[in-house]
Amino acid sequence: MMVNDILQVRGLRLGYGRAMVLNGVSFEVPAKGLIAIVGPNGAGKSSTLGAIAGGNTVSSGTIIFEGKDITGAAPEVIAAAGLSFVPEGRHVFSSLTVEENLRVGTFRRKDRNAVEIDLERVFDYFPRLKERLRQPGGKMSGGEQQMLVIGRALMCRPRLVLIDEPSLGLAPRIVDEVYDILQRLRTEEGLSLLVNEQSSRRVMKYADEIIVLREGAVQLRGEPSALGAETLHDAYFGAGTFDHDSAGGTV
């Protein structure tokens, strides 16, 4: 455990009814780092992010954000503390305009003047949002909606942003655009990021560390460059399924 970790997750256990989804998950996110959780469907990726953001009730374990225990706190309290969550599937407020969508995240803030500055900064990262200021959020394309929800998360002035499957349903070119912006946010704003992805291929290039989650437990973790295709594949699908002939390092 490093002192400059912005988030520490220890022994997270969580279940829906009698079915256990997470069986003791531990990891940490370093300040200004980008950590990617990858794994197949049902591995517990979304449950992990939901638990950190306060939407899912945790059975046991602790979640420490900036040295404070936030386990079990209400989602809106966690958001106000500086941890923003972008749920899976681009939940834009479809009947609100782009501008209203962005402003919803700011009402808990006391620094009214800084809100306008932040709004400009979001437009700086996502110029397309400025062009669509008065348009209802629900009428935008998938990529624009993804940018809108990330922009909305930034309006809470977070230090850490959790994003559930930023690439879901987006064209590869848009995915690259989204990740390039996330990369800029890290270097220019000092933002820390924790993302979920089904496919590790995309995040290999950007992540400081990959965490492979399967059946509610961390199977493997490490720097992308240090992870071989075979170890990654085995962690993802289970040992002994790696097919050397097709060199299936495409998870």
Partner: protein, 305 residues
């Protein structure tokens, strides 16, 4: 006309909660009822000697008061708004269908209570001699007031956060919205407007009875909101005008039109049937209501939130 202004107040009151939160409420007529009785408690009666006879269970102080109508309206707003805030803070822990059903049980419970609390509400008997203050001018003024309050709420951050929670509850929480709080605020405010509507009704008819505040008016006002379009404030107002016009027209046809010696009249009861047909047609061709969620705008007003 005067009756229509009352309905505008009621439907706008419904809109503040239902339109912005997306939760259907069957219980708001309870606050109309509370408002009407609050008006009676404060401003009844034109013959002050009647009050202790009607309502022997009221505190002596209230038995001896008969303040002018504005005080009665204020009391209606305060009591209905206050009780809506308290009840809302409990009910808004629920969401979706569970919340809707809970509001229905609120209506049933409040109705049963007022029906049997004979000393204070007169029970099943109607209270006459309530001061009549309504005319079309006062009604219009109050209706404009209700629309203005609803518009201000709609434009405010509380209205915006409420609609965000309606669109995407999870995401709104992640954006720091306290869903329970914004819903409770809207519930209280809409209860307050409904209470004023109740006082208007009492001060229009001069008679108050529990049965006037039950299922009939619940469904009529809900129908108006849905036909006009619950997605916008204009929809709420347009729905009242449209359905009032239709019922008024059908009522005249029921009475009959003289053509020479012949009297052409629709069979009795066609008013309700016709209303049903109009609603079905609107739902088929404009499922989101006549206004379809849009607002009628005059220029472009915006408030600083």
């Amino acid at each position: 006309m005067t009756e229509m202004t009352i309905r505008v107040v009621l439907v706008v009151g419904l809109y503040v909660f239902i339109g912005n939160s997306g939760i259907l409420s069957f219980g708001h007529v309870s606050f109309m009822s509370i408002g009407a009785y609050a008006f009676v408690w404060i401003s009844c009666c034109t013959l002050p000697a009647l009050k202790p006879l009607y309502l022997p269970g009221l505190p002596i102080v209230l038995q001896e008061t008969a303040l002018p109508s504005p005080a009665g309206i204020a009391a209606a707003a305060a009591l209905a708004g206050g009780s809506a805030l308290v009840i809302g803070s409990i009910l808004m822990r629920l969401s979706g269908t569970a919340a809707s059903i809970a509001t229905f049980s609120l209506l049933a419970g409040q109705y049963a209570l007022f029906r049997n609390w004979t000393g204070v509400t007169g029970g099943t008997s109607s209270l006459a001699n309530v001061p009549v203050f309504m005319n079309s001018a006062i009604g219009t003024l109050l209706a404009i007031g209700a629309v203005l309050i609803a518009w201000l709420h709609h434009q405010s951050r509380y209205g915006l956060m409420l609609r965000a929670a309606r669109d995407e509850q999870t995401a709104s929480k992640a954006s720091g919205v306290n869903v329970w709080l914004v819903r409770t605020i809207a519930f209280g405010l809409s209860g307050l407007i409904m209470g004023v509507g109740g006082a208007m009704q009492a001060g229009f008819l001069g008679i108050v009875t529990v049965d006037a505040f039950y299922l009939d008016v619940t469904f009529l006002t809900l129908a108006m909101l849905i036909v006009g379009g619950s997605g916008s404030l204009s929809g709420a107002v347009v729905g009242v005008i449209a359905l009032t016009a239709v019922t008024e027209m059908l009522r005249r046809f029921e009475v009959g039109i003289h053509l020479g010696d012949a009297l052409l009249a629709l069979p009795r009861g066609f008013q309700e049937v016709g209303l049903g047909i109009v609603m079905i047609l609107v739902m088929i061709f404009r499922p989101a209501g006549i206004m379809n969620g849009r607002e009628l705008t005059v220029g472009h007003f915006r408030l600083k939130r």
